[in-house]
Amino acid sequence: MRDRMRNQIKVWLSNFAAIIRKDLISTKRVKKYFFSAVIPPLVILIMFTAFLQVSNPETYTVMVVDEDNTHLSGVMKGYLGNITSEFAPWFEVVNVRSYNESLKLLQDYRYLGLIYIPAGFQSNITSGIPGLKGTIFLIVQNINNDYVKNYMQRLDEAVLTFNQNLHLSPGSVDDFKINLDLHYAIDQPVSSLKMITLGVLSIYGIICGMLFGALNIAKEFEDLTIIEIANSPVSRTAFLASKQLIAVLLGGIIFLIFAILMFILTQIQFRGSFLIIALAFTLSTLIHSGIGCLIGLKLKKTMPVILTCIITSMLLWFFSGGFAPLKILGDTVVFVSRFFPSTYWTEILVSETLFPITSYLLPRITILIILCIAITLISWYIISKEGFKQ
């Protein structure tokens, strides 16, 4: 019994390896086939990136660093959060642990600004010493932008409300116990290049995986070689698993090459765990290569497959937040985006790379694992049922 099973596994692995070897040779030899999977999505994504660089350079996330960590600093943070969310839902407040880290992020990345509540904020307010105030520092970029100006006004209002509600001094402004100190301003637009670059990179990797999956299957139909496969004793799971693994492998190589290129060009630093990124990439590419295999099964020709995958990639990109921050695009888009596995992968990649936030990692990885299992099983079932009827 054990020998039989061992033999079956051996046969399965031998079939699996043979198909992978064959597909790698094919991909290497058919340049047209390889480039059709790599070039069209890249060209289109670069075009979109360039377009977005011109049309929509701002993002609206503000970091808050609370080094005081007292009751009053907490109340102040609440005001800041409320005022921004009431003003416009796309203004987000993100808590960052230390001032140094936030400065680094500010220089490095797309944040609109930094609100810094230094240690001693509450003790200054409650000291009773005349003139001693709790100070909030605001470091803001892109000060000439109308949205930013508006935001500044709202912050002023938040500070005013805070002062009034403290009932410490109903009199003149001089008696106000806190002070908003516009510490630093850069008359320079904040670029979302890195964010967009990451969006492009994340989608590009999985699109390549999807395209390779789709092309691998479609090519078997186009060349009618599926007849050979369907009439051989090769395990269907070995056949499908090898097709998906090839897709993940090639998508991964392309992803890696472009990640290195983008690092060189845009100085993006991957801060998070390489293992988490690798896991999330593998899961999402498996999901999309499964979808690709179904596209290949349905269309059976390479050209329609390429076109369909490009259109699909645009959808994925849009609904994964590559086009613009999802909140700007409205609730419907946010809702729909939850149905796209690429959204979770993009969020993981962005958070692991740019944000110091990891709290939502586990649910997203879990969703990807569930989707990966479900979509792989569904695509294998459909292809086994329909694809081998030659």
Binding site: V11, S14, N15, A17, A18, K22, I25, S26, R29, V30, D223, L224, T225, I226, I227, E228, I229, A230, N231, S232, P233, V234, F388, K389, Q390
Partner: protein, 338 residues
């Protein structure tokens, strides 16, 4: 002589009448069309069994039923006494399929295609390489084995497909129109190779549109057109059952008839058959003799000996014998098929 050889071959096979494939009242209906209706036949081990029929007659459907790619709507198919659908995994290894279409990895070399096939059938590397060398040599592809298949001619691709199907030593070789669109040389090479297969213990199921191919290769044929029109039976048997008579025409001088040599031969050998005479010139006459097809080999050799012995000079001689194509056209009609 050829028929003699074939009859001998069949009789020598008569002791191996184990049935390897059986169709028992098989019906196959596709959503809009009844592809096969009440098909029953048995294929013996080690014979070349040929399915002939016009386009859309159900030949490929029959092949798919044998290999378990599709199920019957009604009736049973057995391969090695097993249901090919239920036992597909087990049976797939015993088939060697040469599909109608060119189904090769064109971006791989000829050898790589064979190696890939060998891996799918889990052949050991040593045996596989040995077999591949042998088969490539046999198919005349040894010197092109490292070239990409996309550079091969149609005939070479067909030959490669054929040897690929044989690489894993299948018991049943299914050839679905294996010589479609190939040149005479390649066709000849393929025919020679197919003819060798029964001697290696293989059963061959051949579908073809070429009647001459069926005549040349098949031990038994069945003529399909949605249902069985004729057969299964030997080509000769089918020819005889559809066209019981053949015609010999020969043109001789008038005065030879006066010598009564010919008349004597005809009366002695062909009594009871119709003999017509037609003057074709002042000096010559065309004799037309209709006789039972089974006697043809005998009559032909006797007649030649007779005229040689008597020094008769025959100006023209024509043997009008119905071939499988005549049979086929008579049975399936002459109208075009989709």
């Amino acid at each position: 002589m050829r028929y003699q050889k074939m009859i001998e071959s069949i009789s020598s096979n008569s002791n191996k009448n184990d049935i390897i494939i059986e169709f028992n009242k098989v019906f196959k209906k596709y959503p809009n069309v009844m592809a096969l209706e009440d098909i029953s036949f048995k294929i013996k081990k080690g014979e070349i069994f040929c399915l002939i029929g016009p386009n859309g007659a159900g030949k490929s459907t029959t092949v798919k039923l044998i290999t378990g790619q599709i199920a019957t709507t009604n009736g049973r198919v057995y391969v090695n006494e097993k249901d090919p659908i239920k036992n597909r995994k087990e049976l797939l290894g015993i088939f060697g399929l040469v599909p109608q279409e060119i189904a090769l990895y064109t971006e791989l070399t000829g050898r790589e295609n064979l190696e890939f096939h060998g891996c799918l059938y889990n052949l050991s590397k040593e045996i596989m390489n040995q077999k591949i060398d042998q088969l490539l040599e046999l198919a005349g592809l040894a010197n092109r084995q490292k070239d990409l298949v996309k550079t091969y001619s149609g005939g070479m691709k067909r030959r490669l497909q054929l040897i690929r199907a044989l690489l894993h030593e299948p018991d049943i070789v299914i050839l679905d129109e294996p010589t479609l669109g190939v040149d005479v040389q390649s066709r000849n090479a393929i025919h020679n190779y197919i003819r060798e297969l029964p001697s290696k213990g293989k059963t061959v199921v051949l579908t073809t549109n070429y009647m001459e191919e069926a005549e040349r290769l098949a031990d038994r044929v069945v003529i399909l057109d949605g249902k069985i029109i004729e057969g299964p039976g030997r080509v000769l048997e089918i020819q005889e059952s559809v066209f019981p008579n053949s015609i010999i025409e020969f043109k001789i001088q008038h005065d030879l008839l006066k010598d009564d040599f010919i008349n004597k031969f005809l009366v002695e050998n062909l009594s009871g058959n119709i003999i017509s005479e037609k003057n074709v010139s002042d000096t010559h006459i065309l004799l037309q003799i209709v006789f039972n097809t089974p006697k043809i080999d005998y009559i032909f050799s006797e007649f030649i000996s007779y005229i040689k012995a008597h020094g008769i000079k025959i100006e023209e001689f024509t043997l009008k014998r119905p071939n499988l194509e005549d049979v086929f056209l008579k049975l399936t009609g002459k109208e075009f098929r989709e």
